[in-house]
């Protein structure tokens, strides 16, 4: 820990007619060998009546650097080396050089009257200076501190913690965080994992409870948040400096839909040691119908289809309904709904009266049927035709808990549906204050896909815009990541109170949104090492570079190596595993005997019922839900092998 103030100046402010000092910018020179670099924070002291007293103090961050010698023109260097570059290095003398730096003002003390930066001595900033310069003194200390460590400012041999203001990161003053950077090098996911750990550790008590909901949209990125990762001494030192315990998340709940077979989970967290704590995410008709708009493409969105879907929701779903042809329906599942559709089509055909049914044209009804059956086909495993749903614990969210919804292998349409419904439910419960926590951080990667700046208006984009603009009042906070910030909807990124930048693509940096950055800062961004970020935060008048430790959780790639995903189990074995997870007394053969020659849909339905009910005797309940055994016409000979040790401790 280096906190001592270096009493020796490292530079002096200079001002010329061409490069004057202004209230927002100044220039200073240093020795050629200096620890100062782009992003360094410095303190300027105006010479007062006594040494270092009484004068104005200005804090600045270095935004550009210049080096030049007394060489009048490059031609003279060529002449003196007689055209041979090798000889240039043989000159007995080295030309006089200068290191001239440009710094942007972070803060002046006193703040009024605002004046040009004095031509004083320049010092390396200390810990206290960094806090002053970034105005962190207003929220890191005091009766109700609200500082959230985001990393360490590291420059000139100093490592000073940098804090974000929770009121501006998680609401209500401002909220949301956006992180940009090239894939693989910007460490966007790692940064968010670290920041979530920091929030969980430092979220102010007076602000209540907080949870995080992360959508895992690619690979195994977020599949091992509860497993410890590899840290080195430097990481541990940084954690200590930031006051964060380097440990994986203590409470993580995983949710993943099934694969099309309805029993194997569609996630990379299927290693036998881990799969037990992955909850299935299965939705039925009622969960889907409210978000039918998500399923319709732009051409589908017309008033007629919309009206028919509303009709289904209001008048049909979960109600006793007469189809007008003498049939009664109680629609609770996709299968029930399909029955209703068939009855309508048959009724219209038999009656031959017209193409209209209850003011809805048959073409509209066919279109809606097509789209809704399409979702149950494309998202089979997530959307069940006729089974009960398995959902997130709405109303039972727990403090400092991460909820991971793994939709990495789900059809894009299904991803949109999951995203839309989960966020809408979060918003709904937060509005009612009955979610279980006061604030939820929603982490969404690939914002370029979900909230692009151009392209058709989608339900997901509309919802992201809504969160961005109104979420801070509800405690619904969006942490979003993308590769190309310039291609994300302006209002989504514009409403992010805090912005992080990892290593950036040079083409992206050439877009107009980055014109406020100096060329040197852009170069630094384009070459930023892993683990370093540029931070913009409402309290910081200029972007600040920080370094953060590796997250203390197992990286997705390492996790997959250490816990390789299991191969898909057969239908029987998958059912056995799920039941055994609920009741360790259950033995495989008991289950296999029960489900032999059963229709898979019946088994899935019974399994879902057990999952939802969680009875004490899971096997008995499962047997009851399966109902009477249906004997096949001809029973195939079974090659049953009795267990070697029927009273084994082996769970199944």
């Amino acid at each position: 820990m280096i906190q001592t103030r270096d009493p020796e100046p490292i530079g002096r402010v200079v001002a010329t007619e061409l490069k004057p000092a202004t209230p927002h910018q100044f220039h200073f020179w240093t020795a050629n060998e200096t620890t100062i670099g782009i992003g360094a924070i410095v303190r300027v002291e105006e010479p007062g009546p006594g040494k270092r007293e009484g004068g104005r103090v200005v804090y600045g961050v270095v935004t550009d650097g210049f080096a030049y010698s007394d060489l009048a023109t490059p031609l003279h260097d060529v002449v003196s080396a007689e055209g041979d570059p090798a000889r240039a290095a043989e000159s007995p003398s080295v030309r006089q050089e200068i290191r001239l730096w440009t710094a942007a003002v972070l803060r002046q003390q006193p703040e009024e009257p605002l004046q040009p930066v004095p031509l004083g001595a320049v010092y390396v900033a200390s810990d206290a200076d960094v806090a002053q310069a970034l105005r962190m003194d207003a929220y890191v200390s005091g009766a109700q501190p609200s500082g959230i460590p985001v990393g360490l400012y590291t420059a000139a041999g100093l490592e000073a913690p940098v804090y974000l203001d929770a009121d501006f990161l998680l609401g209500p003053e401002a909220a949301h965080l956006n992180i940009s950077g090239v894939s693989g090098l910007a460490t966007k996911t790692s940064a968010v994992e670290f920041l979530l750990a920091s929030i969980f550790e430092h979220f102010p008590a007076h602000k209540g409870r907080v949870a995080a909901l992360c959508f895992n949209v690619k690979g195994p990125d977020l599949c091992f948040l509860d497993r410890p990762g590899t840290l080195d001494d430097a990481d541990r030192r940084r954690y200590e400096r930031l006051g964060i315990v380097p440990q994986p998340f203590q409470r993580v709940r995983y949710y993943a839909p099934f694969k099309a077979d309805g029993v194997n989970l569609n996630t990379l967290r299927t290693h036998p040691d881990l799969v037990g704590d992955v909850e299935p995410l299965v939705w039925g008709l009622s969960e889907v119908l409210d978000f039918a708009e998500v399923l319709l493409n732009r051409d589908d969105i017309d008033a007629k289809a919309d009206a028919f879907i509303d009709f289904l929701s209001d008048r049909v779903l979960n109600k006793e309904f007469d189809d007008g042809f003498g049939g009664g329906h109680r629609v609770q599942t996709f299968a029930d709904l399909d029955g209703l559709f068939r009855a309508i089509f048959d009724g219209l055909e038999l009656s031959g009266r017209s193409d209209m049914w209850r003011t809805h044209h048959i073409a509209t009804i066919r279109k809606v049927r097509n789209r809704l059956s399409n979702i149950s086909t494309r998202c089979k495993g997530l959307v069940t035709d006729d089974g009960p749903s398995s959902d997130l614990p709405w109303g039972g969210f727990e403090d400092r808990t991460v909820y991971v919804v793994d939709v990495a292998n789900v059809d894009p349409l299904g991803q949109d549906l999951v995203f839309a419904r989960v966020v809408s439910k979060l918003r709904e419960h937060l509005e009612r204050r009955d979610l279980g926590v006061e604030a939820v951080v929603v982490f969404v990667d690939e914002l370029n896909k979900y909230a692009p700046g151009d392209g058709p208006e989608t339900y997901v984009r509309k919802m992201l815009l809504d969160i961005s603009e109104r979420g801070r009042y509800l405690g619904l906070v969006l942490f979003a990541a993308e590769q190309f910030r310039s291609q994300v909807h302006r209002r989504v990124v514009g409403n992010a109170g805090t912005t992080l930048f990892g290593r950036m693509d040079a083409d992206e940096l050439a877009t107009p949104g980055y014109h406020v950055l100096s060329p040197a800062v852009k170069i630094k961004l384009a070459t930023l090492p892993i683990g370093e970020l540029m931070v913009r935060h409402p309290h910081f008048t200029q972007p600040i570079f920080v370094r953060f430790p590796r997250p203390a959780v197992l990286r997705g790639r390492d996790g997959v190596e250490r816990f390789p995903p299991a191969a898909d189990l057969s239908f029987e074995d998958a059912v056995v595993r799920q039941l055994a997870r609920l009741d360790r007394r259950i033995r495989p053969n008991q289950v296999k005997d029960l489900i032999a020659e059963r229709r898979p849909d019946d088994v899935r339905r019974a399994l879902a019922a057990v999952r939802r009910t969680r009875p004490d005797d899971a096997l008995a309940y499962f047997r009851r839900m399966l109902g009477a055994r249906v004997a096949p016409a001809t029973a195939p000979a079974r090659e049953a092998v009795p267990p070697l040790n029927p009273i084994s401790e082996e769970p199944y």
């Binding site: 000159s91 007995p92 003398s93 030309r95």
Partner: protein, 329 residues
Amino acid sequence: MPSSWVDAILAAGAVPASYVPDASAGRTDLEGFTGADGVEDDELRTYCVADARPLAPGAVAFLDGIEQWRVVGYGGVTPIVRGYVAAAVRRRGPDRRLRTAGEVSRELAITRLDALAEPLRRALAESGVAVVELAEEDAGQPTRAIQAARRELERARLAEERGLAERCLAELGPDEWLVVDGVLSDSAALSAHRRAIGVIKSHGAQYFEGAELERALTLPAGHRTSVFQPRSRGARRAIYSWYLRLWPWEGNDLLYGLLRVEAHADAATVARASALSAWLMRERSPLSTPDARWDRLLYPIHDVETYLRSRAPRDVLSHPASRLPRTGS
């Protein structure tokens, strides 16, 4: 055609040339022609130094001085000149960077006190500034007085340089050399030191005539003359000297790139004249541009001058715009 006769003489063998810069005129107190005695050869010869192994001292101190002046007032028609002289030594070590090892500066007033009214004399006395008196015969005419003041200022600078050089010699390391911008023979200590050399870039004084003069002044680039001993009048000390051409003069003027080197008068100097010359040839790089004398001004000497000018008071030299008539009421 105006240039036809020029073409004709060039075609007849004249070496093309340009003008002679003012800086070539040199110091005002050096003799025009004194003559010289051959040391290395009876008759002046030229030697190529391209194959000589350059002397490579571990450290070198470079000394130079500056003078600045301005007429700050008149007492009647007698000018009162504010002068500033300074000298510095910048040392170059193995890292090839130059760092200040010593410096002196002095401000002085130059005038003829007798010619000033009593209040002026009193004001000068009370200010504490060192006053250098002009000779009575120089003070009558303002133009002449100013020229005399410049001479006095030059003498003051030389004195400061000499004093600093002698102090520097006392601190010189065993493998360290001192390179002085100017002659060594003004100082007994400098003349006697075996690791001090003077580099003279102005050629107001000439030591040869006839064929030897032509040989000296048409020296090819990368060549030196034989070592000779200038004859001197007055108190000048015995010294060995030779000419060295740093850059080809053809197309410029006879003195372009021409240095005269002074060193201690002993046999060792003759023995290492080529090595010293080769070292100075290496000092051509880096160029001391944008100084107009870059063809003869060694970069470290230029660096000392730059250092001294950056340290000089800002108000000694007048800004050109200040000579414009004042406008308004």
